[in-house]
Amino acid sequence: MLWYLIRRLFLVIPTLIGVAIAVFFLIRVMPGDVVVVKLRADGADVSEEMIQAERKRLGLDKPLYMQFTDYMVGLAHLDLGKSLWTGDSVNKEIAIRIPVSLQIAVMASIIAVLISIPLGTISALYRDTWIDHSVRVLAVSGLAVPSFWLGMLIILALLALFNWLPKIGYVPLWEDPIANLSVTIWPAISVGYRYAAVATRMMRSALLEVMREDYIRTARAKGVWTRLIMRRHALRNALLPVVTVIGLEFAFLIGGLVVTEQVFNINGVGKLFVDATTRGDFNLIQGLVLFIATMFIFVNLIVDLLYAWLDPRIRLS
């Protein structure tokens, strides 16, 4: 298991380096100039000379290979460089936004897991009954509803039913849990619905597949009662693909956050990313993309390890 962990970690490194290089060059071919946006933001009459001076100040006039070297050297020190927009370090810019996004992501995942496992199980158990049908419709809709639209509907509903709108601004959970949750719960539901839907579907089909397995027949032949078969024999096996799906869908969760943070005015990583792209803040974009990709890679690594841990066939080889 330890070897497995180490090996997986080592496999991640080339991917990360590849991602870093890909990001750099992808972003450098991006048209548009952060300096122009910055200086001409409100339409001021800015001379070309001024723009060149600013470019120089930001080090954008350096040849590409030098910029690349700086970037890679920075990366080696876990330094993502400075935002071209604010001049602050990208690390700091991201760090400010992490807590709220992370909290929403974690809440969405918790919602997904809490909903999907029982719902998927019930659906599989009562296969082809009305319970199953409604769960499936709910799940297929979950895949179909755009998270940002769901967010808008939630806002509409809150306004119509309670004449109340979620507040803006993030208060850490430990300072004021109620204020915190009243802000984060709605986007978490918006993005969590899809997550839950995907996991529910997976849970259901995995469980149905497992129920067809020979070892379930063996368990029945042993006279094990149905609930114990479910709990002991079926669920653990069915959870394996669900765990994988939860990891893969994390990417969708991030994608959902990018859009949903706009709807709910959340000052998170997603909004920062959208802002950075609109501004053409190369350093921030590449830092963020790299950060998000790394997060994603590590979430999948964790999921892989979890999978391996749950599955003795991998754990013990």
Partner: protein
Amino acid sequence: MLRTVLRTVIASTAALLVGAGIAGAQTPKKGGTLNFGVVAEPPNYDCHGSTTFALVHPIAPHYSLLVKFDGKEYPKVIPDLAESWTVSPDRMTYTFKIRTGVKFHDGSPLTSEDIKATYDRIINPPQGVVSIRKAYYADLVVEAPDPTTVVFKLKNPMAGVLEALASPFNCVYSAAKLKENPRYPETQIMGSGPFAFVQHVKGSTWEGKRFDGYFRKGQPYLDGYKIFFVKSGGVVPGILGGQFDAEFRGRNPSEKAQLLEKMKDKLTVHEGTWVNNLMLVFNTTRKPFDDVKVRQALSMAIDRWGGSDALSKISILKFVGGVMRPGYSMSLPEAELVKLPGYSKNINKSREEAKKILEQAGLKDLKFKLLNRNIPEPYTPAGVYSIDQWRRIGVTVEHEQLETKLYQERVAKGDFDVAVEFQADFMDDPTAQFSKFLTKKLSPSGYSGHTDTKIDEMYTKQRQTMDVAERTKIVREMERYALTQAYNVPILWWQRIIMYNKKIKGWYMTPSHYLWQDLSTVWLDQ
């Protein structure tokens, strides 16, 4: 000679008060924190290198200016750090008397040296310092003969010197600190304004607290202020949810309707003109936009008067005007304006004519692309509206909405047919307002690429004409000429709608969202 010490509190001239009653002469109360939203965030804190309200709204309360625009009687210029001033008879020398006893937030005294250092930094920025408007002040030389006197000498005649000096971006910095680090204003805030800096949580909030050593005794009234940086869509929920009580840039009519519906009796609403407009820029280096007839025809197709009625209900576009803000003293009166191509109130006739012109030019099925920013308000409505208007004369237009940076690049390169540009500044002065109408030689933002030096000549002339009546004449002539040549044609001017909780008092709306934001006179009635 101008000398103004006007202090009476009267209703804002430019503001129409809706549902708020008339702001009576109440005695300001002390205390409380003003919470308000700002829909953008400044990249850094240096006033001289910035052009955005996103900087002015959080930062203006921290700094003093030499002189400033009066919020109640715009465009009157009133003293700030300057106690009074004199102008030499040839209008080539401006001498300012500086207040004594003014302190920076760090306790150090503010003298004429600091003002000289500030303007030197603006006019001749040292290496690494960005001064965006330095060209504007290129004709000025600053001297500080004694600690309470600052003298501005003009190298060439220049109209509107006082207005230029009242720029909200000309924050006065500490000479001593600039000497240490000429770039300190980018990252630190150390001024002499009514509020001292507390903190800036990126992407989230900004806080300031009362500076007890502020030079106007008794001010500011507020204990402090807190800014919430939100997306435009977050303002209404923010105010409704009671998280903050105001937004001072300007909201659109639908937001006004929403807020009025929900908090009718608790809302003060100001509405008025805004020193901003959207204009069409024709790329005269491309056919057929090199043809003045075609440009006029395309302008004539747009129903400005009808559009004003309709668009003003759904966007901040409202007023029909020329190059100068409608209602501004130097602008063309409506009676003259309607004679110009595109401003006729008889749209059907106008469209017929436009069709005929295009037909004659052999451009019956004219097709082109309209380059625009992908910012929803007010660019998208302007684009959508213009395209619809052109369709009515048989012109097919494809809308190219790009991210601002891509838009900027394309416009600067001259890679477009027709673009939707905007004009915005902190004042109405023609020198500022005409910059986009000039040739590229004279102005980097002369995007239409025309080579008509007649406009340039008139522009230079008005800038150097110090007599107001004479200057007005030249400006009106220039406006008439520019609108007839139609290199650039304004679509509509913006309406400024400000809403805030009734408890906020002492804030006055000017036609510019850059002005009157130092919050020194604002108080809370609670």
